[in-house]
Amino acid sequence: MEIPKNLLEGWDIVVVDDEEDSLEVAEIILLEYGANVHTASDGKQGLRIVQVVKPRFVISDMSMPVMDGWGFIQSLKNDPEIANIPVIALTAHAMKGDRERALEVGFHNYLTKPLTVDTFMADLVKLLVDIPELVEHLNI
C-alpha cells in the first residue's frame, strides 16, 4: 500500500546521528512525509532538543561521540518530562546481542542501518503502528 505523503503531518521528530549524510537522508525522507524534523549529532545535543521540542518520537544512532545511544536513552528515562517519548534505535548490521540489550534499556524498537529510501518508511510505519499513543496521530 502506498504510504500517504502527509502521514506524519504535524509530527515533531528528533533524529540523532553523528553521520551528517545519514542524518540528511533521514531528514529528507521524513520531511517528504510531512514531519517537522529536528536533528542532533550527539546524544547530549539530542537530549537538549528533545527536552525543548518534546517530539512524538526519536530516532537515535547508537555510536556517537560525547554521549552515545546508551547514555542518551538513560538520561532520557531519568527525566520524567520526556521519559515516555518512544525512542527507536538505529543499530548496525552486526551485533545481535546489542538489539536485545537495546530493548532492555528502554528503546522501543530498532531499525537496521543503512536506511534505504525503499525500505525506511515501510519499516518505520510498521513500528509506529505498534505504539498506541502514536497511532491515533497518524494521518491516514
Binding site: E19, D21, S22, E24, V25, I28, I29, L31, E32, A92, H93, A94, K96, K113, P114, L115, T116, V117, D118
Partner: protein, 640 residues
C-alpha cells in the same frame, strides 16, 4: 613385661646381676662370720670364766684370811682367855659378844679344855654338829686352820667357812678353843661384790641351791636359777667340762660353769658352785661384734659393688654410649663422624672398627649420591631454563597472534563500517533523487545516469558485504550463535523480503515449510538467512522465466533447504569450481548476469560452519536445484 625388662640398659642389667652375686657372697661371708663370732664368744666366755674362777679362789682365800684375822682379834680380846680358863661364862659372853659385832662372822663357839661349849651363838642346836665337833677337837689339840664345812640342818644345807683357833694362856697352855663360822650365803656373796658386775655365784648342793648372789628382785630368783643337773653330776664326779654352758634368760646370754667344792676332809666334792656370768659384757661384746661385722660386710659389699660397677661402666657402658652417640650423629647427616677412642681389640673394639668402615662406605655412597643429585639438578635446571624459554617464546607468539587477531578484527570491523558508510550515503541520496524527494528536479538523461549510479553503487555495496562476510568467515571471526528460531517464521520473512526480486523479473516465487519440522530449532538465523538470500538471489538471477521455489524440509535428523529454479542450469564441468571465489560459470556469465561470484563461496563456508552440507543438481537449460542439509539441534548447542 618381658620385653620391657629386656629393654633395660645393659648397665642396669649388669648392676642387678652383680649386686645379687655379691650379696650372695656377702651373706655366705656373714654366715661364716657369725660362726666365728660364736666361737669367739665361746672362748670369751671360757676366758672370762677362768678369770672368775681365779678371782673366786682369791676371794675365798681372802674370806679365809678374814676369818683368821677375826680369830686373832677375838683371841687377843683382853681377859677373854682368862675368862675361858676360869669358865667365867658371863665374862666370856660380855667380852666376846662385845667384840664379835665388829667382825664378819655369823657364828662362833668357844669351848673349854674339856670340849664343852661355853658359848654358842647359834640359836638352835643343830642336829649335825659332827663336823663342828671334830674341828673343835682339832683346835684343842692345838691345830689352827681354816676350812669349809658343809652342814645339814633339817632339810637345809649350808656351807660354812670355818676357822678354828686354840686358846692359849700365858703359859701356852690350851685352855680352850675357838670356832668361827661364816655362812656362804647371799649376804656374803653380795658382800664379795658378786651379783653386781654381772657375775653371780650360786652354791648348789644335792640339786638344791644353797646360796646365790642373785639379788631377789632381779629377774632370776633363787628358785628360778637354772642349772644343768647333768653338768653338776659330771662336775662332782670330777669330770670338768671345757666348754661353758650358754643359757638365754630374758634375752640375756648367761655363761655358766661349775666348780666343785672340796669338803672338810678333801673327799670328793659334795657341792658345786655355779658361776654364772650374765654378761652384759658378753652381750655388749656380741652385739658390737655382730654390728661391726655387718657394717664391715656392707662396706665391703658396697665397695666391691661400686668398683665392679665402675669398671663395667668404663668397660662397657661408656664405650657403647660413645658408639651410640657417633651413630646418632651419622644418622643426623654428619657422615664424616667416626668412633675415635677405641684402641682395644675386644668385641666392642672390633665393633667400633667395623662400624667405622661401614660409616666410610656410607659416606662415600652419600657423596656419590650428592654428586648424582647435583648433576641431576643441573640438568633439570638446564631443561627448566629451556622449557621456560620455549614457554616464554610461546607466550610471546601467542600474544602476538592474539594481537594480530585483534588487529584483524578491528581492521575488519573498521573496514566494514568505513566502507559501508559512504555506500549508504550514495544509496540514500540516489534513492531520494530517484523518488523525487527533497525537491529535486531532473530530466530523463539525468534519471538514466542516476539509475546507473544507483545500480553500480548497489553492486559495489553487495561486493563489499560479500567480501566482508567472506573475510570474517575465512578468519574465523564469524561466530555462529545457537539461538531458538522458528522455521515457519523465518521462511515467511524470506518470502516477504525476497519476493520482490522475483516480481521484478516476472517469475514466480514460492516458499514452503514442512510441517513435520520441529516448531523451534536452535541455530544461527542470520547465517541461514544469508544462505537463503544468496541461493535465492542466484536462482532469480539466472532464471528469466518460470519460478523459483524455496522449501524447508525434514530429512531424518537434518533440515533441508531446497532452492529450485527453472533457470539456465549449470554445466557439469562448472560444478567443481562454481563454489570457488569469484568464479561463475564463465566470464560472459559474469558480464551478463552480474553478481560478485562470491555468493556460493559464502554459502558453502557458512553451511560448513553450521555442520551441514550443500549439494547441487542441475541440467543445462532446465534449471538447478541447490540442497543445503543442516543437522537439527533441538537444544542449545554448546560452542565446542
Amino acid at each position: 613385661m618381658y620385653k620391657r625388662l629386656n629393654d633395660v640398659s645393659i648397665g642396669v642389667k649388669l648392676n642387678l646381676i652383680i649386686t645379687v652375686a655379691v650379696s650372695v657372697i656377702a651373706i655366705i661371708l656373714l654366715a661364716i662370720q657369725i660362726y666365728i663370732t660364736l666361737r669367739l664368744v665361746n672362748e670369751f666366755g671360757q676366758v672370762r670364766v677362768e678369770q672368775e674362777i681365779q678371782v673366786i679362789g682369791e676371794e675365798l682365800v681372802r674370806v679365809q684370811e678374814d676369818m683368821q684375822t677375826a680369830a686373832t682379834v677375838l683371841v687377843n680380846v683382853p681377859g677373854l682367855i682368862e675368862a675361858v680358863a676360869n669358865e667365867d661364862i658371863d665374862a666370856i659372853e660380855r667380852l666376846s659378844l662385845g667384840a664379835v659385832p665388829s667382825l664378819n662372822i655369823d657364828d662362833f663357839d668357844i669351848i673349854n679344855s674339856e670340849g664343852e661349849r661355853l658359848i654358842d651363838t647359834e640359836e638352835e642346836l643343830s642336829d649335825d654338829e659332827e663336823g663342828e665337833d671334830e674341828l673343835i677337837g682339832q683346835a684343842l689339840l692345838g691345830i689352827q686352820r681354816s676350812t669349809i664345812l658343809l652342814e645339814e640342818e633339817d632339810d637345809e644345807v649350808s656351807l660354812l667357812f670355818v676357822s678354828i683357833r686354840p686358846l692359849r694362856d700365858e703359859n701356852a697352855t690350851i685352855v680352850g678353843g675357838l670356832l668361827l663360822a661364816r655362812e656362804l650365803n647371799h649376804e656374803l656373796l653380795t658382800a664379795l661384790n658378786y651379783g653386781r658386775n654381772g657375775i653371780d655365784l650360786s652354791l648348789i648342793y644335792d640339786n638344791d641351791v644353797l646360796a646365790s648372789s642373785f639379788s631377789e628382785d632381779s629377774s632370776a630368783f633363787i628358785d628360778n636359777i637354772q642349772f644343768n643337773g647333768d653338768s653338776i653330776t659330771q662336775t662332782l664326779a670330777g669330770v670338768s667340762s671345757d666348754t661353758p654352758e650358754f643359757t638365754l634368760i630374758n634375752r640375756i646370754i648367761y655363761v655358766s660353769t661349775y666348780v666343785p667344792v672340796q669338803g672338810l676332809d678333801d673327799r670328793s666334792a659334795t657341792a658345786v658352785v655355779q658361776i654364772r656370768i650374765n654378761n652384759r659384757e658378753l652381750n655388749l661384746f656380741l652385739r658390737r661384734l655382730i654390728i661391726g661385722t655387718i657394717i664391715v660386710a656392707i662396706a665391703l659389699v658396697s665397695a666391691l659393688v661400686f668398683i665392679i660397677l665402675y669398671r663395667i661402666r668404663f668397660l662397657i657402658v661408656r664405650r657403647l654410649r660413645r658408639l651410640q652417640e657417633t651413630i646418632a650423629e651419622i644418622a643426623e647427616g654428619n657422615y664424616d663422624k667416626r668412633v675415635t677412642d677405641e684402641t682395644s681389640k675386644d668385641e666392642i673394639g672390633q665393633l667400633a672398627n667395623d662400624f667405622n668402615r661401614m660409616a666410610g662406605e656410607i659416606q662415600s655412597h652419600e657423596n656419590e649420591l650428592q654428586e648424582l643429585n647435583q648433576s641431576l639438578e643441573n640438568r633439570v635446571a638446564e631443561r627448566t631454563l629451556e622449557l621456560k624459554k620455549a614457554r616464554d617464546e610461546a607466550v610471546a607468539a601467542q600474544r602476538l597472534a592474539n594481537e594480530n587477531s585483534r588487529l584483524k578484527s578491528e581492521f575488519l570491523s573498521t573496514m566494514s563500517h568505513e566502507l559501508r558508510t559512504p555506500m549508504n550515503a550514495i544509496e540514500g541520496f540516489t534513492g531520494i533523487m530517484l523518488n523525487n524527494m527533497g525537491g529535486v528536479e531532473y530530466n530523463d538523461k539525468a534519471e538514466r545516469y542516476l539509475k546507473k549510479v544507483q545500480s553500480n553503487s548497489r553492486r559495489l555495496l553487495a561486493l563489499i558485504n560479500d567480501f566482508l562476510d567472506l573475510s570474517r568467515i575465512e578468519s574465523g571471526r564469524m561466530e555462529l550463535v545457537s539461538l531458538p528460531m522458528t522455521p515457519s517464521m523465518m521462511a515467511n520473512k524470506w518470502e516477504d523480503n525476497l519476493s520482490v526480486l522475483a516480481q521484478e523479473k516476472g517469475i514466480g516465487f514460492e516458499v514452503t515449510v514442512d510441517p513435520t519440522l520441529p516448531e523451534t530449532i536452535y541455530g544461527d538465523e542470520e547465517a541461514l538467512t544469508k544462505v537463503a538470500i544468496n541461493l535465492i538471489g542466484n536462482a532469480v538471477k539466472f532464471t528469466s522465466e518460470g519460478s523459483v521455489t524455496l522449501s524447508l524440509e525434514k530429512r531424518e535428523e537434518n533440515m533441508a533447504m531446497v532452492v529450485k529454479d527453472t533457470g539456465i542450469g549449470i554445466p557439469p564441468h562448472a560444478r567443481e569450481f562454481i563454489f570457488d571465489e569469484f568464479r561463475q560459470v564463465d566470464q560472459s556469465s559474469k558480464r551478463e548476469y552480474g553478481g560478485t561470484g562470491l555468493g556460493l563461496s559464502i554459502v558453502q563456508k557458512l553451511v560448513r560452519e553450521m555442520g551441514g552440507t550443500v549439494s547441487l543438481d542441475s541440467e543445462v537449460g532446465a534449471g538447478s536445484t541447490f540442497t543445503v542439509l543442516i543437522p537439527i539441534h533441538t537444544e542449545e548447542k554448546q560452542i565446542a
